[in-house]
Subunit: 385 residues, 2 copies
C-alpha cells in the first residue's frame, strides 16, 4: 500500500490520460442517503420479446427485419446521430470577426451502428461465458478493420484479421464510401445509463472528426512519449502490476484496474499489457483473453450488489485514418463507468460540484479495487437458481 | 438567424470558455423514447417538515439545531467533502520516477456550507419573487466577501459590500483561519440531479485548490484577453445581443442566453453585461437585476414542461485569493444545466458516447432559446390554483 494517508484525507488526483484533476473525499461515504434511489432491476425478461427491435426476426422502426441471427448482428442505427449525406456547410472564417471566434462550428458526417451481443433478449455480458463473448470481439474487430483507411499504418494487420476471423453468416457491414476519422465503440447498460432496450447490445459511432476524449488522450500520450520515450499506458500497467493495490484481475494479455484517477465509484480500466494499437493487432489468443477480462469485469460488477450493474463502457484505440505516429501512440484500452455507489439502488450523482467545479468521488479507487477483487466466483444469479 | 443550415445537419460546436467541442445532431429528436422515465414530481410537500434537517428549528445529523430563521440560513455541512484540518500529506516527487508522474496527488483542505433560500420547505426559486431572491444573493455576496483574502484586489469592494448589505439576524459565518483559494456556489435541484432534500437550498464548497472547470475558464479567458485585448464574455454578450436568436431574456444588467456551445438540452447562461468580476462588484440595483434573471430562468424552466424542473446551477467568479491579473480576467456568470429533454419525465442522458467520445445534444440551442422565450408569464402552478 503506497500512500496510506490518502485513505483518510481529502485530496486531488491527477488523470495523466486526460490531463485533468479530480477531488477524492474518502470520509464522505459516511453521510446518510435520502435522495433518489434507482428502481431495482427486475429480472423478468423473456428470452425472446416480440416487441424488441433487436430480437431475431423482428421488424425495426423503419421497416427492416432482423435476420434469425445466431451470435451477433450489426445494422445501421435507424436514428443515427450523424449521417453520411447532408447539406454542405462551410463556415465563413474571418480572423478579426468576433463571431468567427466565438460561434465556431464544423460539419460532421459519419455512420452509427447498433451491434447485438446475442440473439437472447434476457442476458447480458455477465451471463455469457468468455467463449461466447469472443464473437462480440470478433465483430468489433471486423467492423473496425473494414473501416480503416486504405493507407492506414495498420492496414496489413486489418487485412490479416479480416482473413482469419470468420465472416458473420448473418451479414457484414460495408463501410461508407467517404473515409471516416474515428470509430467509438461503446455500450450503455441499464436504464440508469440511458439504455432504452435491455437486449444486450452496444453502439458504434463513426465520425469524420476525432472526438474530444480520445483527442485529449492522444495528446497526453504523445506528450508523454515525447518526454520519456516510453508509452504512458505501458508505464502505468507496469506500475500497477508492481503496486497491486488497484489491480482487480489479470491474465497474460490484459490488466483490470480501478485506475488511480477513477471518477466513478467502481470505474474500471482494461489495459492491454503489450503494445496493442487497435483491435486488429490482437491474436486469436488475445481476443479470448480480452473476452475473459470483459467477462470478469461484468460478472464482478453484478456480484458486487447482486444486481444487473449499470455502466457505460467504451474502447479507445487508433483512429480509422491516421499517421504512423498516431497509430504508434495508440494503446488499446477499455473504460467502464458505472454509477452505483452503495447498493443496487443508490448511485453516485455527478452533478453540481462535479459539473461546475471538478469531479468528486467518495470511496477511494483502492477500496473499490479491493471490493471487486473479492467478488469473483460464480455469477450470483446462477447460484439463486 | 445566422447559420440556418445548422438547424438540420450534424455538426460540432466549439466552447471557447472551456476550449472543447461538442456534437450537435438536430434531426435526432425524432427518435422514439423507450428508456427510463423520471418519476413526475409530486407537489405534496408540507410548508414545514419536522423530519427535514433544513427546516427552521429542526435538529441536524450531528445534533445542532437550526434557528427559527426568517430568510436564509447558512451552516457548515455536516458531511463536508473537504475539511479544514486533516493529517498532513506531502507527496514525494522524484522526476525520474514513474510513480511520481502517474500517481500524482495533492492534499485539499477547505470548508463546505449549506445555504437555505427560505424557511419554507415546499417552495423553490421559481415560486419566489425577485425581491425574495435578493436576500439569497445578499447571502452569497456576504459569504464570498468574508472569505476573500486580506490582500485581494477586490478587498475594497468586499468591505463596501459587507458594510452596505444588512447582516443576517439568523447568524453569519466566520471564515476559516487558513486562506482558501476558490469558492464554488452551486445548487442541485430535484431528485434527477442528485438532490437529497427538496427544501430550497444550495451549497458552497470552498477549497485550497482552484478546481478544474473555473481553472479551464480562466485559462481560456486569459488567453483571449491576451490575444484580443478584450474580454471573451464581453464580446460574447455583445454578439448575442446583436444576433438575438439565443437570447432568452435580459434586463439592464444581465443577459440570459442558451449558449452557442450548450451541452444540456435547455442549458442557460446568465451573463453580467458590464465587467463584474465577482458578486462583491454588484450594486444594490444589480443584485435585484440578478435576482430577476434567476427568477426568469427558474420560472420559465418550470413552465416549459409544467413540472418542477431539475437542474444544477453554479456561479463562476474571481477566486478568493488571486492576483490583480486573475481578478481582472474574471467575469461573473451563472450556468444552469438541466437534464430534461422532451417532457417532465424524459431526460437526456449524457452517457456512453458523451463520456467516452464527446458531449452530444439533440435540439439546437437556438430551438431551446425560442422555447424558453415563449414560456414567460405567470408560474404554471399559480394558474392551477
Ligand atoms: O451534497 P449532497 O447534496 O448530498 O450530494 C449531491 O451533490 C454533491 C455535489 O455536487 C455530489 O457530490 C453528490 O453525488 C450529490 O448526491
Ligand atoms: O442511442 P440510445 O441508446 O437511444 O441513447 C443513449 O445513448 C446515446 C449515446 O451515448 C445518448 O446520446 C443518449 O442520450 C442515450 O439515451
Amino acid at each position: 500500500m503506497p500512500e496510506q494517508v490518502l485513505d483518510d484525507i481529502s485530496h486531488r488526483r491527477y488523470n495523466p490520460l486526460t490531463g485533468s484533476w479530480l477531488l477524492v473525499s474518502p470520509h464522505r461515504t459516511k453521510r446518510p442517503w435520502q435522495g433518489q434511489q434507482e428502481a431495482p432491476s427486475k429480472n423478468v425478461l423473456p428470452e425472446y420479446d416480440p416487441k424488441c427491435y433487436l430480437c431475431p426476426g423482428n421488424k425495426r422502426a423503419q421497416g427492416d427485419s432482423n435476420p434469425q441471427y445466431a451470435k451477433t448482428f450489426t445494422f445501421v442505427n435507424d436514428y443515427s446521430a450523424v449521417k453520411e449525406q447532408q447539406q454542405e456547410y462551410t463556415p465563413e472564417v474571418n480572423k478579426d470577426d468576433v463571431a468567427s471566434l466565438l460561434l465556431q462550428a464544423q460539419p460532421v458526417t459519419g455512420r452509427c451502428y447498433v451491434l447485438t451481443f446475442s440473439p437472447k433478449h434476457d442476458i447480458t455480458l455477465a451471463d455469457m461465458a468468455a467463449a461466447e463473448i469472443v464473437p462480440v470481439i470478433q465483430t468489433w474487430t471486423r467492423i473496425y478493420a473494414s473501416h480503416l483507411s486504405a493507407t492506414h499504418p495498420l492496414r496489413n494487420q486489418a487485412d490479416k484479421a479480416l482473413a482469419s476471423i470468420p465472416t458473420n453468416p448473418d451479414g457484414e457491414v460495408d463501410p461508407p464510401k467517404a473515409q471516416l476519422r474515428y470509430m467509438q465503440i461503446f455500450e450503455n447498460k441499464g436504464a440508469a445509463m440511458g439504455c432504452s432496450n435491455p437486449h444486450p447490445h452496444c453502439q458504434v459511432w463513426t465520425t469524420s472528426a476525432l472526438p474530444e476524449e480520445p483527442g485529449k488522450e492522444f495528446a497526453q500520450m504523445a506528450q508523454y512519449r515525447g518526454e520519456h520515450g516510453r508509452h504512458l499506458l505501458a508505464d502505468y500497467a507496469g506500475l500497477e502490476m508492481e503496486k497491486q493495490d488497484r489491480v482487480v484481475w489479470q491474465n497474460e494479455g490484459f490488466l483490470v484496474v480501478c485506475p488511480w484517477w477513477a471518477v466513478w465509484p467502481f470505474e474500471v480500466l482494461i489495459l492491454a499489457k503489450r503494445h496493442v494499437r487497435a483491435l486488429v493487432d490482437l491474436t486469436d489468443g488475445e481476443r479470448l483473453q480480452l473476452a475473459e477480462a470483459v467477462q470478469e469485469v461484468t460478472r464482478r460488477y453484478d456480484n458486487l450488489f447482486e444486481t444487473s450493474f449499470p455502466y457505460s463502457s467504451g474502447i479507445h484505440q487508433a483512429p480509422l485514418d491516421c499517421t504512423e505516429e498516431e497509430a504508434e501512440t495508440s494503446w488499446l484500452h477499455m473504460h467502464f463507468y458505472p454509477p452505483l455507489l452503495r447498493s443496487a439502488t443508490v448511485r453516485k450523482f455527478l452533478v453540481g460540484y462535479e459539473l461546475m467545479a471538478e469531479p468528486q468521488r467518495d470511496i477511494t479507487p483502492e477500496q473499490a479495487a479491493a471490493r471487486l477483487r473479492n467478488c469473483g466466483g460464480e455469477l450470483y444469479r446462477k447460484l439463486l437458481n
